[in-house]
């Protein structure tokens, strides 16, 4: 990938070569394109040990914490947030489902999720990139408006393949035929569903409506795939990453971060939801001999906490490296970090007790001034979804509320 600080969008460059490409709507020539805004939302499902994570003082001059000390050189690029959670979101590990949706009682019988932040944004800006969003990691953070989880990609190598590896020319014409066949099949299926409508009960009709919506959405995706069929996938200089599983917690996370950076740099997508490791395997880190999940249930055992710290420091180091790599990647007039918000948090405030309040949250990047520890009330938490509203507005999305967030997050600058 050409890393020179070209200020023009890549499509302009291709056009100049006289290559005819069936491209989606283009900005006009000669105009400096406004840099696209991006979001990477990260959930670390097994949380962070609170006493090590949260700074004890607040405001702009806050004293950094044990875990955040390695991030201090970047301190003016992020805001630490404490005293927040999603009202009504309990259920320990099930709260993962609600991290980006804020839907209450995810562990209850008959729970129905609502749309997640990344999907809400993708619905508004996703048409402009080949992939409207990416859902990555061990579990899925991404939920559609009718409560369906979008499957996540666990493997960094496969993610890379999806983003940057194309089939042969022959494959492309087969793909086109397949997409066209897809349209014909969909027409038939829709006709049959319409024939059914008159014969079924009211409750059934609602379900059939869901069917219609799904089929029509599939059709839109087929059409989008057709439009992008002629556009080759971007070329990147990096080699594909080695295959690594989430058992190797830190290496896997770093690998994912690097592929995500490439995805953003090539404008393959502008919205990423990434879920960290959530398992009982023993990460190959020095001094760690017990499984990750088991360690989070340390029950205050000091030896277990010591081992857990190794893993959590590794996670934070990976996050710091990610921010640094975004800072060092030019994007338009600035860097990727200038135009990308990185929201990292956890659905658990205290994994040992499965407690879902006082969540660890850090917002980095984008256009905020940052540099502070924004502390809300630890006994009466502030709704985390106000942060989501602030994030969306920074991306230029005009939305005044999101789930339990009825406005922007006060104090965030």
């Amino acid at each position: 990938m050409n890393r020179s600080s070209h200020s023009l969008p890549r499509r302009h460059f291709l056009r100049g070569l006289g290559v005819t490409l069936a491209l989606p709507a283009l900005e006009s020539f000669g105009e400096k394109a406004k840099p696209a805004r991006r979001l990477v939302a990260i959930n670390i499902p097994l949380g962070f040990h609170g006493p090590n994570f949260f700074p004890t003082t607040e405001g702009l001059g806050y004293e950094t914490s044990d875990y955040l000390r390695p991030a201090d050189p970047l301190r003016d690029r992020f805001t630490v947030i404490s005293g927040t959670s999603h009202p009504g979101v309990d259920g320990g590990h099930s709260a993962e489902k609600s991290f980006l949706t804020a839907a209450p009682h995810p562990g209850a019988r008959g729970f129905r999720n609502t749309i997640s932040l990344d999907q809400f944004i993708a619905a508004r800006i996703g048409a402009e990139t080949r992939f409207s969003s990416l859902t990555v990691g061990d579990d899925s953070l991404s939920w559609t408006a009718n409560g369906v989880a979008i499957p996540s990609q666990r493997s960094p190598a496969k993610l890379f393949e999806t983003l940057f590896v194309s089939g042969s020319r022959d494959d492309v014409s087969k793909q086109r035929q397949r997409l066209q066949d897809g349209h014909s099949v969909i027409d038939t299926v829709l006709a049959e569903a319409q024939a059914m409508q008159g014969k079924i009960s009211a409750a059934d009709r609602e379900k059939l409506d869901q069917f219609f919506t799904a089929v029509r959405e599939t059709e839109k995706r087929l059409a989008k795939s057709e439009r992008w069929l002629e556009t080759p996938k971007p070329k990147v200089e990096s080699a594909p990453p080695r295959e690594v599983g989430s058992g190797d917690v830190v290496t896997w996370l770093r690998s994912h971060f690097e592929v995500v950076r490439l995805a953003l740099a090539t404008d393959s997508t502008r919205v990423v939801a990434l879920s960290g490791a959530n398992h009982s395997l023993v990460p190959p880190l020095p001094g760690v001999s017990m499984g990750y999940h088991g360690l989070t249930h340390h029950g205050k055992n000091p030896e277990m906490i010591r081992q857990l710290e190794v893993i959590e420091r590794g996670t934070i180091a990976a996050w710091v490296a990610f921010l640094e790599s975004l800072r060092d990647t030019p994007d338009g007039e600035g860097s990727l970090l200038d135009h990308t918000q990185v929201l990292m948090g956890s659905n658990l405030g205290n994994a040992s007790g499965h407690i879902t309040t006082n969540l660890p949250v850090i917002l980095a990047g984008g256009g905020f001034k940052h540099g502070q520890h924004l502390a809300f009330d630890g006994k009466n938490n502030h709704p985390l979804a106000t942060l989501f509203v602030s994030v969306m507005q920074e991306m230029g999305i005009e939305s005044g509320e999101f789930a339990s967030g009825k406005g922007t997050m006060r104090g965030l600058v």
Binding site: G88, G91, G92, R109, G110, R112, T144, N146, G147, V148, A149, I150, P151, S155, A157, K158, D181, S184, V185, T188, V189, A191, E192, A193, M196, K199, I200, S201, A203, D204, K207, Q210, F211, A214, V215, E217, T218, R221, R242, E243, S280, L281, S289, M290, G291, H293, G294, H297, H298, G299, K300, N301, E303, Q307, N350, S352, H354, I355, T357, N380
Partner: protein
């Protein structure tokens, strides 16, 4: 407490209850006994009765609320014990006035909503429809669940993420079925692991009597003893023959065989079974359908993870010979599934008329009903258009199948009809999806199309036939997977320091115990009280050792009578159930208690109030979970539910996270001199206190005493089990208006000996089972 379902005369009820009509006759009772705490000002516990009355009974929220109000008054939970109590007459009157309206409001929620095939049913349906072995679940996103099961019509969503995968699945199926090409040559090759093992001979491996032996259990999913040197040349059925023997031991040892393609990006691993190797070498034969590029590998189980100089001395191990691989195997060519679907059509000469013939044969089975001629023309039109474009016959036909199998006629169970009974073809599907997770076979399909299922004798006979069929094992797996939580068996890895004996074989055995116990009760029509306590269980050698039951050997599960002093017997003492209700390191009386309440006693509790600080366990032995919970239970807002949740949870504290019986909690004490290496040992800490008191005041000291109390309430369990079965069988949640029907089934079953098979039969033959 006597369990008495409400009896209501549903026939005389109106169809809806308007808010204006509702509740006037309830006001006197509510004013006298409830309004002090539950008016709009105090609204204790979040309940404002005035608002509840105004809301009426329309929709899920109000119906659930009023059901809860009804039940709490019926069970004497409300008014609370400290308040003046209404007398039996007042309570009875209140319930009698509420019940009819509540039944009507509930009934409007209880229709089976157009139910799509979930992904398990989708795969089994394709397998049975085409007669092939194929994996499809991995292609489809996870299903939604409600009421504890993932075959709930209302909950199962259809999304673009799901729908766009269906054509991919159809392609995989058709690639397997349609074989117009020449018969692939079946070859036999002999594969040795020597090349890979050779550098390690005399170190970790030995080569004796033509067998390569290992003395350690592998930690990873990779074994050097494999057929990797010659992988499967193409997708097909293969037979693997080899001999194996246990080395340096008289006891048989267990090994596992897995198949993998070893692809670096997302390798697939399939378990092909567990086997016992004895002192005498004996031959083994395994057959499996595998994709191209697969190899099998061998894993010895139950051996140490590390042995120094294992080939020296008399360490026990297992040795395997070279493997003879034969395949791809085909009994006939073209294979039977191809001929069944396509007849003997020649793709070079076939025409649209041939395609029409094929679809006319195919559609009624695929769509599980009679199909009119005009309906066949719809998918056929796609075939016609493709043929006209000059596309090959196979490709054109593919489009017709894709349209048929992406149609709502295939994807949904269609149950439209008039009146109180779904039509026979729908009933046949309901029955086969209940017991086989799949479509009706030709015999059942035929009976339904001829309208014979409305004859109870025919329905009963079909039921028996389906129960006898091996496909019934799918019901056992899917139902126990969800009712007993067995699907979650892999979710936690027990702490290896505290529970070093826990291994793969133990986990597999414990799941098999629960499944085969369930199957045994079904096959023998044994009383359902066996679920609560039984004088036998299903064990193999490994699990028997875990439970301390002597005299059991071998890999196969067998019915073993339990000694009278044994604490085992019934689902609450089964290791698999105990594991899925713990978190691998600790147990939680709340988790287990809630499980018992919901799945054994049929009591559903609302979630905890918001902003409750959860308990942070302190396993430095300063306090036990029980001591910490005691702090909660003394708070009024917590006691309401915890007096129900905690007692079963406490009784189950007698079992650790891997289901072993314990008298003391364990902890790992690190040796301060070796703290950096994490060395130490397991020590017993505080003793387990498994005593408790039920809300009725009855006390128990041990698990046995708790089980005795449960048995005294077995009617309640019978109702709960009936409700669970009906929820799964119909694909919808049960509610207030179903109680009469469910109670009738349970009562009839009890009168007929309380057998489990009898219960299933009474459910299937009941009007409830055929209700839309």
């Amino acid at each position: 407490m006597i369990f008495r379902p409400a009896i209501v005369l549903l026939l005389l009820l109106p169809l809806t209850v308007s808010s204006a009509d509702f509740g006037g006759d309830l006001v006197p009772f509510l004013e006298k006994h409830c309004l002090e705490c539950h008016d709009d000002l105090s609204a204790k516990g979040g309940l404002d009765l005035q608002a509840a009355l105004d809301q009426g009974l329309k929709g899920t929220g109000p119906v659930h609320l009023w059901t809860r109000i009804h039940d709490r008054v019926r069970d004497g939970e409300m008014p609370p014990a400290k308040q003046p109590r209404p007398d039996a007459g007042e309570t009875g009157g209140f319930l009698e006035r509420l019940a009819p309206d509540l039944a009507v409001g509930d009934r409007n929620l209880r229709e089976v909503v157009l139910r799509r095939l979930n992904r398990v049913e989708y795969e089994y349906t394709m397998r049975d429809l085409f007669g092939i072995e194929v994996d499809l679940v991995d292609l489809l996103p996870e299903d939604q669940a409600a009421g504890g099961f993932d075959n709930n019509g209302e909950a199962l969503a259809i999304s673009a993420e799901l729908f766009e995968q269906y054509p991919v699945a159809v392609r995989r199926v058709l690639d397997e079925v349609i074989q117009f090409g020449p018969r692939p040559e079946s070859k036999t090759v002999t594969i040795s692991s020597l090349r890979e093992v050779e550098p390690y001979l005399g170190k970790q491996y030995a080569h004796l009597d033509g067998r390569i032996s290992t003395y350690m259990t592998e930690k990873t999913q990779y074994s050097k003893i494999s057929t990797r040197d010659q992988r499967t040349p193409q997708r097909g059925r293969y037979r693997f023959r080899f001999t194996a023997a246990a080395v340096n031991t008289d006891e048989p040892l267990v090994f596992a065989v897995t198949a993998s393609d070893f692809k670096s990006a997302g390798a697939v691993y399939k378990n092909l079974g567990y086997f016992e190797a004895g002192k005498e070498p004996r031959p083994f034969e395994i057959e499996a359908v595998l994709d191209k590029g697969f190899a099998i590998q061998f894993f010895a189980l139950g051996l140490p993870l590390y042995v120094r100089d294992p080939t020296i001395g008399t360490h026990p191990g297992i040795g395997w010979s070279e493997v003879e691989m034969t395949g791809p195997l085909h009994e006939t060519w073209p294979p039977a599934p191809h001929s069944a679907l396509l007849g003997d059509v020649d793709p070079d000469k076939a025409t649209l008329a041939d395609a029409r013939e094929i679809l006319i044969r195919f559609l009624p089975r695929a769509w599980r009903r009679e199909v009119a001629e005009e309906e066949v023309e719809v998918p056929l039109a796609l075939v016609a258009a493709a043929l006209e474009e000059g596309r090959p016959f196979e490709e054109s036909l593919h489009l017709g199948f894709e349209a048929a199998l992406c149609s709502p006629n295939f994807l949904f169970l269609r149950e439209e009809g008039e009146g109180d009974r779904i039509p026979d073809p729908a009933l046949a599907s309901r029955l086969s999806y209940f017991l086989w997770s799949s479509l009706p076979d030709p015999a059942l399909h035929g009976a339904s199309v001829a309208g014979r299922l409305s004859d109870p004798a025919v329905l009963a006979a079909e039921l028996e036939r389906l129960l006898e069929d091996p496909k019934c094992g799918r019901f056992v797996e899917q139902f126990t997977g969800q009712w007993l939580g067995l699907r979650r068996i892999d979710e936690t890895t027990p702490d290896t320091k505290l529970y070093p004996g826990f291994d793969e074989l133990l986990q597999v055995s414990m799941v098999r115990e629960s499944r085969s116990f369930f199957a045994e009760l079904l096959a023998g029509d044994l009383p359902i009280t066996n679920f609560l306590d039984a004088n036998f269980t299903m064990l193999n050698g490994r699990l028997a050792a875990h439970y301390g039951v002597p005299g059991v050997s071998g890999l196969e599960m067998q019915a073993v009578p339990l000694p009278p002093e044994s604490v085992r017997g019934g689902i609450l003492t089964q290791a698999a159930v105990l594991k899925v209700t713990a978190n691998g390191t600790n147990t939680s009386p709340v988790l287990r208690g809630v499980w018992v309440l919901e799945n054994v006693l049929g009591k559903h509790l609302p979630p905890p109030p918001p902003n409750i600080a959860g308990i942070e366990p302190d396993i430095r032995e300063a306090t036990t979970v029980r001591e910490q919970l005691d702090l909660h239970r003394n708070a009024e807002s917590c006691a309401g539910c915890h007096r129900y949740i905690d007692p079963p949870g406490f009784a189950l504290e007698s079992f650790d996270p891997v289901g072993a019986f314990r008298t003391h909690y364990l902890r790992f004490a690190v040796n301060p001199e070796h703290a950096d290496k994490g060395w130490g040992r397991v020590v017993a800490s505080k003793p387990v206190d498994a005593s408790g008191e039920l809300p009725t005041g009855e006390r128990f000291q041990t698990m046995e005493e708790f089980k005795a109390l449960l048995l005294a309430e077995s009617d309640r369990f019978a109702f709960a089990l009936t409700e669970r079965l009906a929820t799964y069988a119909l694909g919808r949640e049960m509610g207030f208006s179903d109680r009469e029907a469910l109670a009738a089934i349970a009562v009839k079953t009890k009168a007929e000996g309380n057998g489990f098979r009898t219960l299933v039969r009474n459910l299937v033959l009941s009007p409830l089972f055929a209700k839309p």
